[in-house]
Every structure is written in C-alpha cells, then in structure tokens.
C-alpha cells in the first residue's frame, strides 16, 4: 500500500520545528554547564554569567512546551537532563566555605547546642547517676572495680595499688617531654572523637545505646574516684580530671545528647511527620557534633599537654573551671537574635 511520492521538504512534526528554533540556545547552555561542572562557576566571564539564568529559563520553558506538544522522547529526555544540571548549578551550590565556617562559629554551633538543652540535662543526670553508683559500688565492695574497668584502662590504678603508685599516676612528669606529649594529645583527640561520633550515630537506635554508653562512662568515673578517695587522694584526682574533664565530659554529654535528640525525634515526632522530625533533629544534632569534635580537640590538648606540664592542684582546677565557664557562656549566654549577619543561612 506504499508508494513513492515527490519530495516535500516542509517539516513533518513539531519536534523538528522546535529543534530548529531553539537548538542553539540549548547547546549554548550545555556548553556553559560543561565548563562549570569541570571546574567551578569561576570559569565563567561576566557575559556568560548574565546569560546563564536566561538560558536556564528558556530551556525550562522549552521543556514544558516539548512535553505538551511533542512526542519525541529523545528530545524531552535531553531537555530534562539539561534543566536538571542547570538547576543544580544555579540553586544547589552551597555557600562558600569561609562563610559557612564563620556562620558555624558565630551562631550555628551555639544555637544547635542550645537546642539540645533538654537532652543535655538528661545526659548530665545520667553521668552523675553513673558516677554515684560507681562510687558506692567500689566503696562497698572493692572487687566490683575489676568488673567495671578493664585491665587495659586501669593501668595499675586499682584498689590494691599503694598510695605512692596512685600518686605517681596523677603527678607524673611523663616519660619524655614535648614530642611524646603532642602525640598523646593527638591520639586522645582522634580516639575520643571517634567514640563521640559513634555515640551520636548510635542514637538512631531509639537512643538506647547512647544512654548505656553515658551510664558506663559515669560508672568508670565514679569507680576511679572511689579508688583514689579511699587512699586520701580524692582532691588530687578531682583536680587531675578537672583540667581536661570539664571540656571532655561536657563534649561526651553533648554527643550523647545529640544522639538522643535524633532517637527521640524518630520515636516521638510530635506534631510533625516522622521523617520531617528526623531531618530537623538530624541536621541540628550534626552541627552540634561538629562542635563536639572541636571541643574534643581542645580537651585532647589540655589532657595531653596541659595536664602533664601543669602539676599544681589549684592551677589544674583553675584551668578546668575557666574552660567550663567559657563553654557555658559561649553556649547559653543570651544574645540578640540575628545580630550582625544579615545574610545568615536560614536555619533548616
């Protein structure tokens, strides 16, 4: 039923006409995007930068028209990927690293921590409960100490140790100065941060593991304190802990609080949808976690270097309480809302 017919060169379908009219624009946009994707937006000159949004909008309108009037699937697919790439180049680019960092230290970090105040109090409570329990357990029955603290961690600091040995662990000038101290500080920082991130991630399991971790942390603290207190070294031990502990324990409490915050949002989303509650909680807790890592960096330095070089009890307590006051002021001192930064990133 088919026969040859003389040539008629008018385009048959809309897609052909449409392509002829707009293909140049699409290709220009594609070229710009390719250059941006290879490097960054900085490769574009002023002219190209001004053209970009116009080309993007015309591609979007081409996409809408093509979907409604054309049956050329290849064309629609091409326009879809073009518009998607352009969208992410225009809308998806994050703020510059410096701006983000500045915002983090000025408002992001303290605001996130303030948002966790309920969980923070709860975690403080857990740590105190753990510490008191550990203390009484060891006072009542010294052998309980061995089941609370593993040998590797005790390093000879157990109920059977003499006063001299214990005193040495607290007031020790350390093996060799400087180098070993710095290594020790870095080791403490990386190790503690890893544990903190872990505690945070575990919060997802309805906060149960984070609670256990905090309780155990308190338990070891109390048990240690009991051993030293029995030998009359209580104040020395407290000072020894205080110099870095005010920062480190605070950081651990915040990490647990961040984890519990997520777990609670997943378990009890309140008025919001479960997923939305989890997202809001997750982003806030993550900012707080970045802060916790910073705190642990400070704590690592205090513990690794400060504690070995500063020997007097008074000086140790002084440094410790100054740090604590600093953190409390930084987080909870009331400040004007939206002070300064008019272009601040809106809170998620």
């Amino acid at each position: 039923m088919s026969e040859a017919r003389p040539i008629d060169s008018a385009p048959l379908v809309n897609a052909s006409r449409f392509r002829a009219a707009h293909q140049d624009e699409w290709e220009a946009l594609d070229e710009l995007l390719r250059r941006m994707e290879k490097r960054s937006v900085r490769v574009l000159n002023d002219e190209a930068l001004l053209a970009l949004p116009l080309l993007y909008r015309s591609a979007l309108s081409s996409l809408s028209v093509a979907r409604e009037t054309s049956l050329d699937k290849g064309l629609v697919a091409y326009l879809e990927q073009l518009c998607t790439r352009a969208y992410f180049q225009l809308y998806g680019v994050p703020t510059s690293a410096w701006r983000q960092l500045l915002h983090f230290f000025r408002t992001g970090w303290p605001t996130a921590v303030r948002g966790l105040w309920r969980e923070t109090l709860f975690c403080l409570f857990l740590t105190v409960v753990g510490a008191v329990a550990g203390y009484w357990l060891v006072i009542a029955d010294p052998s309980a100490y061995y089941s609370i603290i593993p040998d590797a961690m005790a390093q000879g600091r157990d109920p059977s140790a003499s006063v001299e040995t214990l005193r040495k662990t607290i007031h020790d000038t350390g093996p060799s100065r400087d180098n070993a101290l710095a290594t020790f500080a870095v080791y403490l920082f990386t190790h503690n941060s890893q544990v903190a991130i872990f505690a945070f991630a575990l919060g997802f399991a309805f906060a149960v593991p984070s609670v256990l971790l905090l309780l155990y942390n308190g338990l070891t603290l109390g048990a240690m304190l009991a051993v030293f207190a029995q030998k009359g070294l209580g104040p020395d031990f407290a000072a020894w802990i205080a110099i870095h502990g005010s920062t480190e324990l605070f950081a651990i409490i915040l990490a647990g609080a961040a984890g519990i915050h997520i777990g609670m949002a997943v378990a009890f989303p309140g008025r919001e949808a479960r997923m939305e509650a989890a997202v809001v909680a997750g982003r806030r807790a993550a900012i707080a976690m970045a802060g916790v890592v910073c705190m642990l960096l400070v704590a690592g330095m205090l513990e690794g270097i400060g504690r070995q070089t500063v020997q007097g009890n008074a000086a140790r307590v002084g440094i410790g309480s100054t740090m604590l006051l600093f953190w409390l002021a930084y987080y909870y001192f009331p400040r004007r809302k939206g002070a300064g930064d008019a272009l601040a990133i809106p809170r998620p």
Binding site: Y91, F204, P348
Partner: protein, 293 residues
Amino acid sequence: MRWPFRARKPREARTLRRTFVTPEGVDLRLELGSAGARAAAFIIDMAIMLAVLVALTIGATFLLFGGVQSAFIEILWLIGFFVLRNGWFTLFEMGGRGATPGKRALGLRVVARDGARLTAGAVIARNAMREIEVFLPLSFLAQQSSQGAADGFLILFGLCWSGIFLFFPLFNRDRLRVGDMIAGTWVVNTVRGKLGDDLAKASVERSRHVFTEAALDLYGVYELQMLEDVLRKGSDDAVFTVAAAIRRKAGIPDESDDYLFLQDYYAALCARLERGMLVGRRRENKHAVAARR
C-alpha cells in the same frame, strides 16, 4: 478490619523518577541513583581511601627511615587517618559538586530532598551515620579476628547488623540510606546526555512511503516511543522484527528496506498523533480508541 479483603489497586509501575518542582514551576522529574550505581560509587570510594591510606603509611615509613622524628610522623599519621575516615565523604560532598570522586565517576549527586541547597549539617549527618553502617561492623570484626576470638556467633551478629544497614536502601522507595533519612537528602542521577538526531527530519529529505489512515490507526504514543527507541539504538534484528510486524498488521508488501520504512512510518505516525494531541485527543497506546476522523 478490611485489610485482608481490600481490593488491590493496580499498582503504578515502580520507577526511580520523582516529582521535583523548581521555583519556576516546572517538574524536573528527577531520576534517583539506582542501588547498583550507589554501591559501585561506594566501592570506588573505599578503594581510593584504602589506596590513600596505604600511600600514607608507606610515606610515613619512608620518613621514619629518613630520620624525621618519630613523634611527628605518628601525629601526621593519626590525623591523616582521622581526616580520611571522617572527612573523605563529608568534605567532598560539602564542595560545589555535592559528590565524592566515586559518585562523580557514576554521575551521582547528593541533593536535599526539599530542593534547597545542601547545608553542612545535612552532609555531616548523612556521613556520620556511616559510622554505624559500615565502619562499626568492619572494625569490630577486624579487631575480633585479629585476636582470634571471632567465633561464629559474633561473625553472624556482625553480618546481620551490617546487612540491615547495607540493604536499607533496597527496602524503601527512594533508595535512602539511614544517613539520607536523617539528613533529608537523596542521591540523584545527573548524567550528561546528548541530543539525538531528529528522526522525523531524516525522512523529509527524500521521497518517502505514504501510509493509509488504517495503517496509521494501528498504534498510539506508547508504541511510537518504543519505535523511537528501536530506531535510535536498536539492533538490526530488532529493526527487522518490528518492520515485519508493522507490515503484517498493515498489510504492506515487503520491499526489503526495513530501516527506511520504519523511519517513514515513525514520521507519519508521529505527525498524525501530534495533530490529534493538539486538538486534545491524545492516544496513549494501541488499546485506546483510535482518533475519530
């Protein structure tokens, strides 16, 4: 208590396309990254990380023999390891591309589900969760087996644990990891595509077949687009089969010019369906009623 007896609605075909409306009001129909692509990207990243770690360790050893103070090297290695483990994914995804090298290689990108820009908080949240998804069971097993204490039960527990988290993306529609869920992100495809040739145009420039109304009434939009796929990337076999089927149905004699025949049929059918569409008669597939003349 209607559940067991409820009539099942016919389910929509499960695709990875998701509605995503831009501020300009156009739906971009984003395509999510498939689970396979995600896994491949992750494996590439892990391989690079491992290579960097090995290079770091070898470099540290060289420095050690080169007489540099051992404390300095230890610090360097510890910090290097920490940054690699916690910073690799986070730092790359915070950058403008929103993708690690592995994701870039597979044309993937991390995007906020609500279409806003990706914040640092979201990136940190989605990657901190890797700690319980991957690193925990891995380091746990490594430690246990190095002490020779990895008994069957522990290994089984580790496998179950990581199995739950590893396969988590397969159990939800949007291929979300636990980290994606918490951070409000998802991973989309941003593969660059090329504009294919205009199929209808090719048949304009030469003398072409002419088809009867009855022959053009055979098919709808769905079949037209399948035919487009065949013409764009089908094998000779497919072209032959499709051409034979159309000829048989339309009663057109075989002139053994399959490809040209299909091109002409495509152009004619496309023109006809488009005309129908412009007056509001879109014929989805061959089962729908043919446009009235």
